[in-house]
Symmetry: C2
Subunit: 205 residues, 2 copies
Amino acid sequence: MVDRDFAADLAGLVRARRSIRAFDPAPIDPSEIREILELAARAPSAWNLQPWRFTAVIDPTTKGELQAAAHGQPQVGSAPVVIVLASDMVDALARLDEVLPPGAPGEARAKLRANIVGFFDKLTPDRRDQWGLAQANIALGYLLILLGSRGYGSSPMLGFDADQVRSILDLPGHAQIAALVAFGRPAAPGRPSTRHAADSLIRIV
Amino acid sequence: MVDRDFAADLAGLVRARRSIRAFDPAPIDPSEIREILELAARAPSAWNLQPWRFTAVIDPTTKGELQAAAHGQPQVGSAPVVIVLASDMVDALARLDEVLPPGAPGEARAKLRANIVGFFDKLTPDRRDQWGLAQANIALGYLLILLGSRGYGSSPMLGFDADQVRSILDLPGHAQIAALVAFGRPAAPGRPSTRHAADSLIRIV
């Protein structure tokens, strides 16, 4: 079933989206934050590992600490919500049995499990953690579109001291911080960004 | 402006999405493929580097070669389209001047440029390429939602020999393959996947 309005609304959102750095300070209902994050957490991941972990920061003191860890970027302190998107491969692999295909016969499950364990056993911890961080960015793509569909502006950020962010939020040392995402109702339009010509990014063979 | 229908359609898609591995073999119009990829390429990236490069494979011979490179996974050969999502940080950095903020004063542009170059100069080529691969997955999140909004089923895959994929598509050795994505009209429903309880992935502080 194809919903032309939905496809057109999504295309319009994607074309118009710009990073927003000035927000209406009005608080966002925690149930709304939770619903958005539950949907973002439904992004697909390799082997269904779901390594993403979301912390939504609404407490002003914690936002202030995060702002300091993010080189003082003002939107971290001024946005009503800052999402910290992390990946935790140690926890994801500890919970491997929970995410194997529920309907698969026992032998197939055991074989798949052995393949996954074997794959990660061959990686260094650093490489494993980088792998999880990359997976977390699938959920970041979901999150930015979900926020836009509800009229929120957002600015994803990579400029922060990861050790400080882990410490502020009591995240384990192996957790990778994929992004900070400030969001809220836009108080000012975003700046345009230059885009590469599509033909230089896309080919059909 | 908040469009409640759009938000509800998107939530419904995200909740219902499953990986699809059986497709109607009818070809997809190349103009439709191009439009979807142009939209996916509009995902945001750190420093606006846009390191993603998309190759849509519709040629049956090339799909057969890709299938062999993907350990024989049948949907690579049988889907009407297979997207190969790669990142190319060497090309992205060679084109850095094209993506700096167009309205910024010369001095700010020069400082930002120096910061970006300095950041990547401190990384090994491997680390730089892993960084680009992670960014490419933001566009993967976009792509999967875009496909779903148009009624397509898709299966993103990580199981392939990257050297073989690069060779088949004539991609440079430093390019990272973030995913293969088979897509088309679904010919059979996808299997359910077990999801972690939202409370174990999400917290609000």
